[in-house]
């Protein structure tokens, strides 16, 4: 009897693991965060001129062409006029040289320190937000296509574990809201599916532009959990898992969010 119970529990656990490996939200039901906005904010995001995030995209383009660092070379100095379209859709990604997982911000800073001889840009600095937004904007409409095979696999698994980890005083995991309750109301807000395809995004609450990591920290603070430091490995892993979850959703940076 007891053994049967154990076997049953083991079977249930295995089924749970198998379920967890599938997508909680099937590709046909994927909805970008903009689908959960009011019509006014959606219109603002789609207005190429009035979208306040475009201010950062514009200054990002300037920084892209400005020489910097000891080698006095600009981003455009190496990348020339080669199109960066589609590039942002592949991040976070394993960096070949180091074998480490980097997001777009990390890649920009690697370029700065290794190729330009410049100081890395601080997370959430205007310059880093601008460059990231400028790069991601060039992939407007390109579906997210992050890879989770090879060396990325272990980070993907860690990201999935992090996504499903209960944390904070509210003892909630990301999945409790964004997989199980999306579309429902949380006070005045509609819970989104939690996709990263519009970041960096302009958030009304911030009254400025912010990175995906800042948004993750906002969620963590909301469930009264300890916030992840900027650039933490766990953040990167989580970003990779989120990108996989959103695979196929077109990039819409700079998004406008509540």
């Amino acid at each position: 009897m007891r053994r049967a119970g154990l076997a049953l529990a083991a079977a249930a656990l295995a089924a749970g693991v198998a379920l967890a490996q599938e997508r909680a939200i099937p590709p046909g039901e994927l909805k970008s965060g903009s689908a959960f906005l009011g019509t006014d904010l959606r219109a603002l995001q789609n207005d190429d001129f009035a979208n306040p995030g475009m201010l950062w995209v514009e200054s990002g383009e300037k920084i892209w062409r400005e020489p910097a660092g000891k080698k006095s070379i600009a981003c455009a100095g190496c990348h020339k006029d080669r199109s960066m379209r589609g590039v942002a859709a592949n991040y976070p990604k394993i960096e070949k040289a180091s074998g480490k997982l980097v997001n777009l911000e990390g890649r920009i800073n690697l370029c700065r320190t290794e190729r330009m001889g410049a100081e890395p840009l601080r997370y959430e600095s205007e310059e880093l937000l601008a460059l990231t937004a400028y790069l991601a904007r060039q992939s407007l409409g390109v579906p997210i296509a992050t890879r989770i095979d090879g060396a990325a696999r272990v980070h993907f698994e860690a990201g999935r574990a992090s996504y499903h980890l209960r944390r904070g005083q509210m003892n909630l995991s990301c999945a409790h809201c964004h997989d199980a309750q999306w579309g429902k109301r949380l006070l005045s807000e509609i819970i989104s599916q939690g996709h990263p395809n519009a970041y960096p995004a302009y958030r009304m609450e911030w009254q400025t532009m912010g990175s995906l990591e800042r948004r993750l920290r906002a969620c963590l603070s909301g469930i009264r959990a300890e916030m992840l430091p900027y650039g933490a490995q766990e953040s990167l892993d989580l970003e990779l898992f989120l990108a996989w979850r959103a695979q196929g959703l077109p990039i819409e940076t700079p998004g406008v969010r509540r």
Partner: protein, 106 residues
Amino acid sequence: MAARIQIPREARRGDVIEVRILIQHPMETGYRHDDVGHLIKRNVIKVLSCRYNGVEVFRADLSSGISANPYVQFYTVAEASGNLEFTWIDDEGERGAERQPIVVKG
């Protein structure tokens, strides 16, 4: 302080044209506190003005009730080719200026 201006590149004399401007500015209300509890000094754009070939066609006194990165839209009549020149000044005395040319036909 970056800004974006949008007006039609060309218009016919007498046309009513839409003018849009978006300015990058924190519009600090003076009511917020920083991480260590100190009040952040108020700093908003006080005056935004637009001159069309030297003649003032629009002026707004903004206040702390206006969101960060203010967006302003108004209409004016296309009279002659030239420039629409925006100037603004904030509480800290920092001035910004941006201009956009327009070609008026007929």
